[in-house]
Amino acid sequence: MTASVTSLVNQPYKYGFVTDIESDTIPAGLSEDVIRLISAKKNEPDFMLEFRLKAYRQWLKMDEPTWAEVGYAKIDYQKIVYYSAPKQQKKLNSLDEVDPTLLETFEKLGIPLSEQKRLSNVAVDAIFDSVSVATTFREKLFEAGVIFCSISEAMREYPELIRKYLGSVVPVGDNFFAALNAAVFTDGSFVYIPKGVACPMELSTYFRINNGDSGQFERTLIVAEEGSSVSYLEGCTAPMFDTNQLHAAVVELVALDDADIKYSTVQNWYAGDANGKGGIYNFVTKRGLCQGVNSKISWTQVETGSAITWKYPSCVLVGDNSVGEFYSVALTNNMQQADTGTKMVHVGKNTRSTIISKGISAGKSENSYRGLVKIGPKADGARNYSQCDSMLIGDTAGANTFPYIQVQNNTARVEHEASTSKIGEDQLFFFRQRGISAEDAISMMISGFCKDVFSQLPMEFAVEADRLLALKLEGSVG
């Protein structure tokens, strides 16, 4: 390949600006007092404080995991600010009362919060640093019976639902980062779809980290009652700082009988500069529980940002005939590190899962797929198909696959395939011969490589994801 392949990656990160806004920030550090303070500031019911303290006490006893193929300097958990919120604490009645600077920020990020601009039929919950600033289309959703609000509101307004489901899929002591999140999480989205309702529009949460010292710890909980369905999308960006910020989120999904949840992520946190300085540590626990029969949970993720990604969206297939899906594109460039994959735990009979993972590594990045397919002794007739493909751009990037397959039932069928390749010179030559420039050819080939995953995204986002990938890779191929 010519020199232009090497010059296509270094597109500046266009979301790297900082919004100058007065915020209510507590001093850095973590202790029981800090947790009590967060809980008090958020006006939480007592059971939440107990939940947090229980998690904190477990967290103190846990060690940070070291098994992932990622390397980073030790995180000082006492130097992180655990609560930072735009200073505007009075209750908002309508969007017009939201600080215009904030609205402007989201406009700049391409997230229209104003309901008048019905550009797309998508309801958005916007989260700025630690708190939710606005949720659009609430009325319309409420008419359908769908609850879509920030989790702090839900704690006050629907405590019985929160109490029943929060921590039911990811227990407080599940892992080091999940325990930390359970102790200090400040906001997130809550979605409840009642029995038999198909959510009338796409739901979306937009996360923005603004404060340079703050960590972001949000928690999302989606409950789909019998026969309901919902499609949910999250997006994220952060400004550019020289320091690393910690993002430790937890997402829990619960699908009851015949329910269907589709969860898509387009992750574009700041990835640090070309030398690996700065960037977000994205240590996230996502898990869905297919509790009911015939339920379905589908994860789609496009991971392009973050200095380090440590993330394994999982499905626990308990209900008979339940279905788990995982579609992922992980792109790493420069000094980024990603250790991501999924876990499909088959418990019920005739459960099915599909894993399609596409990794693209460029620059000096490390991209690992780590997955687990576990077929329990009672999962008669379980079926899994996994496919992990890696594409390497340049000879300094690494691609690893660690697929764990554990089968304890002989009626199960498990298939796993993986391949590693690069953009073939003859393919490139074919395009060039037809008058298509090298850059266009490469972006077409990459988009073809990722097609299986992009086709799972809601349409508007599929277009966006395609463009995002092209931008990220600009200059790295040619």
Binding site: W67, I375, P377, S390, L392, I393, G394, D395, T396, A397, G398, A399, N400, T401, F402, P403, Y404, I405, Q406, V407, Q408, N409, N410, T411, A412, R413, V414, E415, H416, E417, A418, S419, T420, S421, K422
Partner: protein, 461 residues
């Protein structure tokens, strides 16, 4: 250690209990390791030049701890059954050639080396029809040990715990040195016999024994060799075999290696095969594992030159409560390498198969073509498999694929055979046989192939 605590005690105390329990089993593991090491060191050291190797290995063992399932590499292979066993060194045994009749291969009738409990047995061996320039025999008998120093225990990964344990007790070994250009026609058969609990053994108290067979093959430029490494046990007593084989392929060498492990069901087998391949060498390795209550095979390929070819075929066929583990690691550090690996497991009853296949392709290994496939057949509802084909790739201009499948016999296939008038049981037997035959067919020795086919047939009911 047992501490009686009532289950209603508060958290703090159960924590203390679990901590004590943990350190208790850690102590047990350490005690087991030091017993094994003591036993290893006590073996006679035939020459002073070996002593420094043994001392180094002893230090390596001492710096490590006995693996538990908290170690990633041993997560699924539980060695705790070894902990309680008081192993002893094997005493001299009076094995006669007649006792080994079932294992003698006609193709290698005059090119056979037999080791009983790790010690060379000249009266059982036959080395008459071999070229004069070929050095073959046991370590103690070799005239010039100096040149072996750069090979013996020099493979990467020699510091791994069980390999080091073998080296720490190194007193005898099968040694085959091929000068350059030599093509050895007859296959060389290395038969390692363990006599655990064998009535012929002179050992009065029938204690479980530790044997540590060792083998070194150094093949000079342009040479070729067919090698059969065969592990068998006489008697059905408990024994631990900790075998290490090192094979060095110089430029343009071809080695066809078949390793058969058919120990008794009371045996424990831990084995290492480490292969170094220089430029343009070809290594074909067939690893078959049928025996032992618990077996673990480390298969490691190190590439030291460009353009090597490696073919690895493996078959693990286990039933009952057997555990069969293959950990392979292929380090392709040079350009233009080709590897093909096919590992098959047939798991019956409550047996547990484990496969971990690592393929490393660092930056220098451009134009590598690596393929790996693991296929597992689960024959019973309680059978279990844990498999992890693992690729670590940095070079971009490579073709690397891996695949894994787990399943049972296809109902359609059984039905097809039934429709042709074959009863269901025979149809299943035939399909299992066919599944295994793909690997067995790769073996170059006709008589061994036949023996193994019979074994498969007799074990698929």
């Amino acid at each position: 250690m047992s501490i009686q605590v009532s289950p209603t005690l508060p958290d703090v105390e159960s924590e203390i209990r679990s901590e004590l329990g943990l350190s208790g089993s850690a102590q047990k593991r350490q005690a087991c390791l030091s017993r094994l090491l003591e036993l290893a060191i006590a073996s006679p050291s035939p020459a002073s030049w070996l002593q420094s190797l043994r001392d180094r290995a002893t230090a390596q063992v001492q710096s490590q701890s006995f693996p538990s399932n908290r170690n990633e590499g041993w997560r699924f292979t539980d060695l705790s059954d070894l902990l309680g066993i008081e192993f002893a060194a094997a005493a001299n045994s009076s094995v006669q050639l007649a006792d080994l009749a079932a294992y003698v291969l006609p193709e290698a009738e005059h090119s056979r080396l037999v080791f009983v409990d790790g010690v060379y047995a000249p009266h059982l061996s036959a080395l008459s029809h071999l070229p004069a320039t070929l050095q073959v025999g046991n370590l103690a008998a070799l005239a010039e040990p100096d040149e072996l120093l750069s090979y013996l225990a020099q493979q990467s990964g020699a510091d791994e715990l069980f390999t080091a344990l073998n080296t720490a007790g190194l007193s005898d070994a099968a040694v085959i040195v091929l000068p350059k250009q030599l093509v050895v026609d007859p296959p060389i058969h290395l038969l390692f016999v363990a006599t655990g609990g064998d009535p012929r053994s002179a050992q009065a108290d029938q204690r479980p024994t530790l044997t540590q067979p060792r083998c070194l093959v150094v093949a000079g430029v342009n040479s070729a060799l067919t090698l059969i490494e065969d592990y068998v046990t006489l008697g059905s007593g408990v024994c631990l075999t900790n075998a290490v084989t090192e094979i060095w392929l110089a430029e343009n060498v071809q080695v066809n290696h078949t390793r058969v492990q058919r120990d008794s069901l009371a045996a424990f087998h831990i084995g290492k095969t480490a292969v170094s391949q220089a430029r343009s060498s070809r290594y074909i390795g067939n690893a078959l594992s049928f025996g032992a209550a618990l077996s673990r095979h480390h298969l490691e390929i190190y590439q030291t030159g460009e353009q090597t070819e490696t073919t690895l075929n493996g078959l693990t066929m286990i039933a009952g409560t057997q555990v069969g583990d293959l950990h392979s690691a292929i380090a392709l550090t040079q350009p233009y390498g080709t590897t093909r690996q096919l590992q098959k497991c047939i798991v019956g009853d409550r047996a547990h198969a484990i496969f971990n296949g690592k393929v490393l392709v660092p930056r220098a290994a451009q134009l590598t073509d690596a393929g790996q496939l693991n296929r597992t057949l689960l024959l019973s509802p309680k059978a279990r498999v844990d498999t992890k084909p693992q690729l670590e790739i940095v070079a971009d201009n490579v073709k690397c694929t891996h695949g894994a499948t787990v399943g049972q016999l296809e109902a359609d296939e059984v039905f097809y055979l039934q429709s042709r008038g074959i009863d269901a049981a025979s149809a299943r037997r035939l399909l299992v046989y066919a599944f295994a035959y793909e690997i067995i067919d790769q073996i170059a020795i006709a008589s061994l192939k036949q023996t193994l086919c019979q074994f498969i047939t007799s074990h698929t009911d």
